[in-house]
Point group: C2
Chain length 237, copies 2
C-alpha cells in the first residue's frame, strides 16, 4: 500500500483536505523530532538558549495538535468517510496525541538540561544516555517515515528496537544508583539525569504506539498489546 490510497476520491476537494491534514502531521512530526534533537544537544553541551528554544517550541506543537484535531473533526462531519479514509482520520487523531506527548518529553529533557547546566561539567559520562537518545530518535523517525509512505512493512524492525531502549534504560538506572551511593551529594543531580532517561524511554514507547496505530490504519487490525513476536507473526500474514 502506498500514497495512491489517497487520491482515489471522486471529489478533488476531499483529496486536498486529506493531503493537507497529512502534511500537517508530517510538519508536526518534524518539529517534534527537532525538539528532541535540540533538547539532547542542549543537555550534552549545556546550551541554555537551545533548551529555552525547545520549551518555546512546545506551544507550536500544541497548536498544531489542536489544529489537526479540528481539521479531522471537520472532515469527519462533512465528508462522513468510511473504510480507509475513516481509519486514516481516526489514526491521525491518535498519532498527534502521541506526538504531542513526545513534545512534552522533549520539553522535560530541556528543563532538566537547564537544571543540570549549572551543576555539572563532566558531560562525557553520559555516553549511554546519548546512545539511548539516538535509538529513540531512530524509532520516531522510522514511525514518521511509515506514516509518510503508508507502508507498514518496516514496523516490526522499529518496534523491535524498544527492547534495546529498555535494556539501555535499565543499565543507565543501575549506573545512576551506583553513583548516588558512591556520593550522596550526587543524588539530586542524578535524579535529573534519571528523568531524562525516563523521558527518552517514554519517547520510544510513543514511537511504538504510532507504529501500532499505523498498522491499524493500513491493515485494519488492532495490534496493540501484542508482544514483539506476535506482532512480527501478524505482519507476515
Amino acid at each position: 500500500m502506498d500514497n495512491s490510497k489517497i487520491g482515489q476520491h471522486i471529489s478533488g476537494q476531499f483529496n486536498k483536505e486529506l493531503e493537507d491534514v497529512r502534511n500537517k502531521v508530517l510538519t508536526m512530526g518534524g518539529l517534534v523530532e527537532q525538539q528532541i534533537e535540540l533538547a539532547v544537544t542542549a543537555f550534552a553541551t549545556g546550551d541554555l538558549e537551545m533548551a529555552e528554544l525547545v520549551i518555546k517550541q512546545d506551544n507550536q506543537v500544541d497548536a498544531l495538535e489542536m489544529a489537526i484535531d479540528q481539521e479531522c473533526m471537520q472532515i469527519l462531519a462533512l465528508r462522513q468517510p468510511a473504510a480507509f479514509d475513516l481509519r486514516l482520520l481516526i489514526t491521525i487523531i491518535k498519532v498527534v496525541n502521541d506526538l504531542e506527548r513526545v513534545g512534552d518529553m522533549a520539553e522535560r529533557i530541556a528543563e532538566m538540561a537547564i537544571q543540570l547546566s549549572s551543576a555539572d561539567t563532566k558531560r562525557d559520562q553520559y555516553y549511554e544516555l546519548e546512545h539511548m537518545a539516538e535509538l529513540v530518535q531512530d524509532m520516531l523517525h522510522g514511525a514518521l517515515d511509515v506514516f509518510a509512505r503508508m507502508n507498514v512493512e518496516d514496523v516490526p524492525s522499529i518496534t523491535g528496537l524498544d527492547e534495546n531502549v529498555d535494556r539501555e534504560y535499565g543499565s543507565i538506572i543501575r549506573q545512576l544508583i551506583t553513583k548516588m551511593m558512591e556520593d550522596p551529594r550526587n543524588i539530586t543531580r542524578m535524579l535529573d539525569v534519571l528523568w531524562i532517561a525516563r523521558s527518552l524511554e517514554r519517547i520510544g514507547d510513543h514511537a511504538c504506539n504510532v507504529c501500532e496505530h499505523l498498522v491499524y490504519m493500513v491493515k485494519g487490525e488492532d495490534v496493540r498489546h501484542l508482544t514483539q513476536e506476535e506482532l512480527e507473526k501478524k505482519m507476515k500474514e
Copy 2:
C-alpha cells in the same frame, strides 16, 4: 446538558449502540478505579496477592479498550454521525486511551508494591503518598462522574485539584531525596517509592485529560493547554 442528548435519535437501534458503548466506558472506568484502589492498598499492606490481581486485571482493561475502540469505529462507519454524536464517539476513543494509561500506572504501582514488600516494613512513613493517592482517586472518580452525567460544570473543581497533587508530589520527592542522603542503602527502595509517586501524579494528569475531552464533547470547545484560570473563565462563558 444531560443524558437526554442521547435518546433523541430517530433510530432506536442507534440509541442502543451509543448507550452500549457509553456503558462499556463506565465499566472500564470502574475497573481502572478498582485497580488503583487495590494497587495502593497492596502497597500499604504488602499484600502480594492483591498486587498480582491488579497486574492480571490489566488484560481486562486492555481488552475493553480495544472492544470500545472497535465499537466506536463501527458506529462511525455505519451511522456517519454528526455534531454531538460525532464528538461523543471521538471523545470516547480519547477517554479510553487515557483510562488504559491509568490502568498501566496502577499496574506499575502494583509492581513496585511487590518489589517493596520484601524490603520494607515501616509503611506508616508513606502517609503523604496515601493522601496523594486519595486526591488522584477523587479526580478520576470526578471525571468519570462527569462522563456519566454529561455535565461538565464540575470540571474546574476536578482539574483544580491537580495543583494540590503536584504540590504533594514535589514534597514527597524532596522527602525521598532526604532519606536517600541520610542512608544511601535506602536509595533503591526510595526510587521504587518515587515511581509510585510519579505514577500517581500521572493518574492526576490523565484525569485532567479526561475532563478536557469531556468539555470538548459537551461544549465543542478545545480547552487543552489552557491554564486552570483560563479554564475556569471559559467554563463560565
